[in-house]
């Protein structure tokens, strides 16, 4: 009897990772259940990337790779996430070469369902990433007559649009949680005050000159 029980336990242990190899819905049906912190972290880091692509900081693929590595390194510390061994990264969809702009699925998969069935991550990330690559495909198709690398302006616009597609998708998924559960403003006010103070102190000369001019105009 003991041996049977042990065999069942063994079977469960053996199966556990396989059962987990499926993307799960990280947002509960209960709108007030706090979503995993990784969901917010993912959203915030991508919004920060969107901001960087909106400024004349990033220009091309090389900048993108370099800053991506930096932001990943710099932001981890402030993720406010406890250690978590469940999540795998969101899958990597890419576009094939040439003017067809075909979506290339992650290795070992050939459809969105297969990706969802084989990735330990939030299903919301997978769906968001897929929407992002669909947006990239549209952009690729509309510029398929261009040869060589995209001009800087177009490249920046493409990056902004695709990242925006992803962040808007995550925000819409989070919408029910965000709109249903009235938070307390106490923490938000404390963080806002700290953030504003730091941003003001580290405002660069050019930025401040403009602000000073506005303040003077108001005084007049």
């Amino acid at each position: 009897m003991k041996r049977v029980a042990l065999s069942v336990a063994l079977l469960l242990v053996w199966l556990a990772p396989k059962l987990e190899s499926t993307a799960i819905a990280c947002l509960s049906r209960n709108p007030c259940k706090q979503p995993p912190c990784e969901l917010f972290y993912e959203l915030k880091i991508m919004k920060a990337m969107a901001r960087l692509w909106s400024l004349p900081v990033l220009r091309n693929e090389q900048d993108s790779n370099r800053v991506t590595a930096k932001i990943t390194k710099l932001s981890k510390k402030y993720a406010k996430c406890p250690a978590n061994y469940f999540y795998q990264p969101p899958p990597i969809f890419t576009l094939g070469p040439g003017s067809k702009c075909d979506i290339v699925y992650p290795p070992g998969t050939s459809s969105l369902d297969q990706v969802l069935a084989s990735t330990n991550t939030c299903a919301e990330f997978v769906h968001g990433r897929f929407k992002e690559i669909e947006q990239a495909r549209l952009f690729c198709l509309s510029n398929s007559d261009l040869r060589g690398p995209l001009p800087e302006g177009l490249f920046r616009m493409q990056m902004r649009l695709t990242i925006q597609t992803y962040t808007e998708f995550l925000e819409s998924e989070l919408g029910r949680f965000l709109s249903s559960c009235a938070p307390s403003a106490t923490t938000s006010r404390r963080v806002t005050a700290a953030g504003l103070q730091a941003l003001r102190k580290a405002s660069y000369k050019k930025r401040m000159e403009w602000a000073d001019r506005l303040v003077k105009e108001v005084a007049q």
Binding site: L10, K44, R51, K80, L95, A136, L150, R189, T192
Partner: protein, 379 residues
């Protein structure tokens, strides 16, 4: 019992395999999030494989703010690392302002007002405006948002400021916010960082005279106009334009009388009478009358649509709602073409800011739009 050691070994192996399997390739979501950005490129580069698992930290936004201040406050030009930290902090502050907005806690107006000082962070300013929109009676709003509406380089900031200003009950400045809104319906505003458009490239070719000392006034900009303002009186300004353009300055009543015809579709009375006759015959079963009535109806429809397109492009379309609230306005026609007012100088007082506004308006059938997709034209 002799089997026990090997059974334990198998058990341990299986457990280890299970744990390894569940952990392999694990990576923080954010890591790939950032890596993924390149995957959206039309000609993607080879992607690096999943990195080894790195745990996320437990530090929060307050810690981020402190580190940012420590590392970046002394910089005179932003380094890439500081720009990245600033981006993360901007997102944190924007998120928290959004939380404050949702909480509807009036105490949050204190931070929101302070946030309006970060004039070069449009996401933060827009989020702060949304908090303040819940409490438009908060003292000190108008003084902060008026310059933002007039001078901000960001379309989103101007728009949010105008919205907030227009909601301040009992304030004369609300009218300025309303004017901005009436004129900016077609303003492109893709992201919070979209810059407010410069003067249209063809502006000089429009040939409007430049009023001496006038300053650019964004609330009177539109897809078919550029706004200016001056401290001179409406009478002096309209007289100057009237003399320069050799065209009379019309009052609101005179302008309305002149434009009444343009604001109504022209109906050919003989064709209307013919239509009535045909309908009477058609009711009696005359098939020839039915066919002719159908043809005439299609002609009316075509004419109606052409009139609609013409009106959409006209100066009348822009001024219809706006001039109602400006009884002291003056109108100087700078150019007429094919029965249309092709270029117009619209002058009106704004007592709230002690300025006279000069709105230089053109018809989009004759000249390109200043911004945004142009409405369909007759051409």
């Amino acid at each position: 019992m002799t089997q026990c050691p090997s059974f334990r070994a198998v058990l341990l192996l299986l457990l280890a395999a299970g744990l390894l399997s569940s952990c392999s390739g694990s990576q923080a979501p954010s890591e790939t999030a950032a890596q993924q950005t390149t995957s959206a490129a039309p000609a993607p580069q080879a992607q690096s494989g999943p990195a080894a698992k790195e745990e996320l930290g437990t530090g929060d936004a307050v810690e981020l703010a402190a580190d940012y201040e420590k590392q970046c406050a002394a910089e005179t030009t932003p380094s890439e690392d500081c720009e990245i930290l600033r981006s993360l902090l901007v997102v944190e502050v924007t998120t928290e302002l959004r939380e404050t907005e949702k909480s509807r806690d009036q105490r949050g107006t204190q931070e929101a007002l302070a946030a309006l000082d970060l004039v070069d962070e449009p996401e933060i300013v827009a989020a702060a405006c949304r908090v303040l929109l819940q409490f438009p009676g908060t003292p000190g709003i108008a003084e902060k948002v008026l310059p933002l509406m007039l001078k901000s380089r960001y379309a989103e900031v101007q728009s949010m400021s105008a919205n907030l200003l227009s909601r301040i009950e009992g304030s004369e400045l609300a009218q300025v916010g309303n004017i901005w809104f009436q004129n900016h319906g077609r303003l492109p505003n893709d992201t919070p960082y979209t810059e407010y458009p410069d003067f249209p490239a063809h502006y000089a070719k429009l040939g409007f005279p430049k009023y001496p000392g006038a300053q650019w006034f964004s609330p009177a900009d539109s897809d078919r106009s550029v706004g200016w303002s001056t401290k001179d009186s409406v009478a002096n300004v309209s007289r100057w334009f009237s003399d320069t353009l050799r065209s009379p300055a019309l009052t609101g009543a005179q302008w309305a009388a002149e434009r009444q015809a343009a604001a109504t579709p022209i109906v050919d009375q003989s064709k209307m009478a013919r239509m009535q006759q045909l309908m009477e015959r058609a009711v009696k079963g005359d098939q020839a009358a039915v066919a002719e009535a159908q043809k005439l109806s299609e002609e009316f429809d075509k004419q109606g649509k052409a009139w609609e397109r013409s009106f959409e492009n006209s100066v009348d379309k822009l001024l219809t709602n706006q001039s109602l609230g400006l009884p002291d306005a003056q109108y100087i026609v700078a150019q007429r073409k094919d029965g249309r007012v092709s270029r117009l100088v619209f002058v009106y007082p704004l007592p709230a800011i002690k300025q006279t506004v000069i709105q230089l308006v053109w018809d989009l059938t004759d000249y390109p739009a200043a911004w945004g997709p142009a409405p369909e034209t007759n051409q």
